[in-house]
Amino acid sequence: MSVAVKLEARRVAIKYRRQSTGLDLVAVDGVDLRIDDGEFVSIVGPSGCGKTTFLNAVDGLIAIESGALVLDGREIAAPGPDRAMVFQQPSLLPWRTVTGNVLYGLEMQHRGGEESRKTAARLIDLVGLEGFADSWPSELSGGMQQRVNLARALATDPELLLLDEPFAALDAQTRETMQQELLRIWGATRKTALFITHDITEAVYLADRVIVFTARPGRVKLDVRIDLPRPRDLRLKREARFIEYERTIWESIREEVLRTESRAQVA
């Protein structure tokens, strides 16, 4: 079975200017990767390895320095309706209800109207917020706010779903519930997903493939296919083959951390 390539990154380099020093910093350099249609890919790496920067570039929020980022055969130059981001912070508009927030992306893309309200209602149910359509964000818990954040991204029906450590700020129990929920929702939509995290267990549990970035400037260091059956259950995290995946990835990241530490000591 041949599957179409959804996203392709070819030798991508991204620079950004540090506000404090005014110096250019190379965040990622020479990222090569391909994501197939319908695939769930996690990116992990030592902190500051440029994985979030890379995700922002895929979203079109920042420009790349060189190389190419191609989505469905078109180069990415700016944000577009074919991508949607689930942010690390819920970042909900506090003056809009849950429905108003879910509709936000559609409104910005001039796709409001009667149909969009039905979409919003359906997605609010899908993410498990039945009965909260008219609630204000301030009335919701952190986990529930992240559900709205997810529904808002899904509402625009993107080709590629980008998730920037969406569960990092949640407590451990809520995080596990949300991981399970994300798998359920993803199973219902089967969107191609690119998920950034620093949590190895989370990466393995969710993804079809886990990509390890090197320390800055970030590059693809390791690309692991996670051959675990779906639907997945939280018990999977206790199984030997799961732990074996975790260990492989952990060793790889640890190598990077040690490399940067020794480099820092020399400098």
Binding site: D59, G60, L61, A78, P79, G80, P81, A84, M85, F87, Q89, S91, L93, P94, W95, R96, T97, Y104, G105, E107, M108, Q109, G128, L129, G131, F132, D134, S135, W136, P137, S138, E139, L140, S141, G143, M144, T156, D171, Q173, T174, E176, T177, M178, E181
Partner: protein, 310 residues
């Protein structure tokens, strides 16, 4: 305003999968509290009003008491080694004297003319300041170049007590309502303008990123993020503006006017009718409190989305 019954929110916490026992939500805490505590908390709910009313009443009772003491023993009251001599009525009229002066002021009909004139100055000046202050504040906050262009003028005028412009306004506009409207307008507009500007500039970086990520244009960003985000700032500016506007009315009329509450107070003061001065003072204070109260109601209406204080 749409609000969920608290029960729904509780079920949401369960739905959220916090399967370890979470600390009780406020609704649960009330349910857990013993019966007697429920009544105590009902009183506690009105505590601010009750305590406030009691202290105000106490204040007036003591004040009136000084007046009664003056009537009974004008030579003073020996309190052990100290002699307490109550101040004269001219110095400090008692609340009932003030009430009588106010009654006389109402009966001779002058009050209506004064209130109409002062009210007109206040209303026109303040409303104009609000409209122009908000519009200009939004523009100055959003367009950096306009801000650079106008900033020297705003800073100059804001740093100047606008009341010092009154002599000029009287030369330009005469001693009628126009000069007072001008001084009220200039007094109130800067608080409103500067707060509105701050509100527009105080963009939540996370929300801007959301808007950009969904491909929002500059105008969409302004309409959906900057404008709603600046509402609390605008309301603060409007509230601060009330004080400046009232100062403008009273001081403007003290300097030169034919009618108005401030003018009445100036005449009463010059003729040693201190009770009448106090009557005017309470009238002004009442207007200020009424405006502030109205604005607070407006704030609640506009900010139903804000988290409810416990």
């Amino acid at each position: 305003m749409s609000q969920q019954p608290p029960g729904n929110i509780d079920s949401g916490v369960v739905l959220d999968g916090s399967y370890l026992a979470a600390s009780p939500t406020p609704a649960e805490a009330v349910a857990l509290a013993p019966r007697g505590a429920a009544r105590a908390s009902a009183i506690r709910g009105h505590e601010p009003v009750i305590i406030g009313t009691v202290t105000v009443l106490l204040f007036f009772v003591v004040w009136q008491g000084i007046g009664l003491l003056r009537d009974r023993s004008p030579d003073g009251l020996a309190l052990g080694p100290f002699l307490f001599v109550p101040p004269s009525q001219l110095f400090l009229p008692a609340p009932l004297d003030i009430a009588k002066a106010f009654q006389a002021y109402v009966q001779d009909g002058r009050i209506w003319k004064d209130v109409a004139v002062s009210g007109q100055e206040l209303a026109i000046g303040y409303v104009a300041a609000a409209i122009l202050g908000i519009i200009l504040g939004l523009l100055v906050g959003w367009y950096a170049r306009l801000r650079y262009a106008l900033d020297p003028f705003i800073t100059f005028l804001y740093a100047t007590p606008r009341i010092v412009l009154l002599p000029l306004f009287i030369i330009w506009f005469g001693i009628g309502v126009e000069s007072k409207i001008a001084v009220v307008f200039l007094g109130a507009i800067f608080a409103i303008l500067i707060n509105t500007t701050a509100g527009v500039r105080n963009l939540d970086a996370n929300l801007v990123k959301v808007a950009r990520s969904f491909g929002a244009s500059d105008f969409q960003l302004f309409r959906t993020i900057a404008l709603p985000g600046s509402v609390p700032f605008i309301l603060t500016g409007l509230r601060l503006g009330i004080g400046h506007a009232l100062t403008g009315v009273v001081v403007g009329e003290l300097v030169a006017a034919q009618f108005g509450v401030g003018q009445m107070m100036a005449v009463a003061g010059a003729t040693f009718q201190s009770s009448k001065v106090f009557a005017g003072l309470f009238l002004i204070a009442g207007a200020g409190m009424l405006m502030t109260f109205t604005l607070q109601r407006l704030e609640q209406r506009f900010q139903a989305w804000r988290p409810k204080p416990n």
